[in-house]
Amino acid sequence: MTHWIIAPVVLPALLAPFIVLAARYHIGIQRVFSIAGVLALIFVAAGLAWQASDGTITLYQLGDWAAPFGIVLVADRLSTLMVLLTAVLALFVLLYAIGSEWDNRGRHFHALFQFQLMGIMGAFLTGDLFNLFVFFEVLLIASYGLMIHSGGNARLRAGVQYVLFNLLGSTLFLFALGAIYAEAGTLNMADLAQRVRLIDGAETVGIRLAAVLLLLVFAIKAAVLPLHFWLPSSYAEAPAPVAALFAIMTKVGAYAIIRVYTMIFSPDLDVTAGLHTTWLMPAALASLAIGMIGVLAARHLDRLVAFAVIGSMGMVMVAISLFTPTSITAALYYTVHSTLAAAALFLIVDLVRTGRADLNLIAQPVVPGAALTSALFFLAAIAMAGLPPLSGFVGKLLVLDAAFSTSAAAWIWAVVLSSSLICVVGFSRAGSTLFWKAKSMPVADEPAETTAATPAPATLSYVAVGGLLTLLVAHTVFAGPATAYMADISDQLFNPEPYIETVLDTPGKLSTPKEGY
């Protein structure tokens, strides 16, 4: 079974050039291969998740080189969960892209989509920091292509900002990696976890600098407050299915923070003690607040959803920054919820766009398919705002519960509860303007022409959105087993010894001369 770990990386990596080379001009064949690839990914990911569910940590040594020297892929509970989440999200996003013909509005959508999946999967599975950088770049370069898919001025301009911001982030990442290598002499995560502990207390300047730089890089990816500027315009201008897929990209940053700051710079480490509570927590609370205020202030529906994403990332980061087992459990539950809810909302934004000239929050006459779209929007908004009965409510409850006994409880409770209220107001204002007031609007002068020109969205689009919302409902109904599993994950994260032993003690080439190093 060990070789299956690399399948989520290799499969899209082979499929993408195949689609470019062999099916370049046949959108039908591209669609078939893309869907087949994603279905296969789901099976592989489910298999890996099942394998890891009993706590097994599976190691894959590339080229059979032993751990600190070679690159390793590691499948534990957390990474397989994220891989499975990505694969499932990709299926629905792909269905929507096909149903709404987005993939046909420019070239190479499916190839870039597969490359993007390859990067995301690799980032979740790798056990090496430099390899994480490489997979970040793979997913970023594919996302640059997807971001400006089907062109247009506004999209290109937003694309330039997005690319430049991320290039800067990559440069910071390299500075952090250089500093870590200079201090610890390794970039393997398990090896680092051991060596960082050995650094002399008086000589920690370099490693502290590296820890902060690394946190900065992951915070850019996760769009935590002072570094969130790239997100609203790029997510709002990106094609809808791409924005929905990007919902997992912010989670890559959250995943990297969880992974690196539980294993390498763990909360009990003297060197980086206080980093999370002093810096991450206020930033997370601020981005939660600003995100939800942005929801209320937005004048366009797409920006509104983008700010909701910032808010929900703030929520995830609040839970992460507590760094207790229960808070990580809550963060993981909320991560899954927030990915599905944000993706569904971005797709619904595109459904709303169908038949409208723009996404300004101004009442316009009713368009075909508005009834179903508004019902879906209602559900997704409930989930995103965290109202009962959907999973957002359960997630927020878990976060509040985890924060209850900490010293920052008053702040967290105040910000989470008041921002939820603001978010509810923002979403209900948007929904009532878009869907209710539409009924009272006079029908346009040339009704026959407009209705003929804009048919209702395709059934497949609704299937995709409905599928995502069904997953959200399932995430709520099975909240008990889900939280139990997330608790297992955070248990594994806070006891990294088996992970470190598996990575470092598995024999391979060059595994013997460890003492002489």
Binding site: I148, V160, L164, L167, L174, F175, L177, G178
Partner: protein
Amino acid sequence: MELLVASAIGILTAGGIYLMLRLRTFPVILGISLLTYAVNVFLFASGRLSIGAPPILRDGIEVYADPLPQALVLTAIVISFGMTAVVVMIALGAYLGSDDDHVDDAINKPSTGTGDAT
């Protein structure tokens, strides 16, 4: 030599950041390139500086250069090269399309914000 390398990294970084704050695409791209040069030298120096030392184990040699940062720098160079090419193309497209090379969208804001409504 340490002073030379350190000041080179510092000057490249300072120049890169200054150019990036100009907020027009061409200076920003140049600034990012300078920053990537700075980071490449920084990565190179992270394996400690040594002159004329071989990177491969051989008999009778005591001082070695660390080969790993060199491999890392190669990867970083290739990636930043590709990324720069991509960003030049996208920026060129954006410039030709909107006849404006500002990276921030402050100038274009009225046309995207209220222009859509009318």
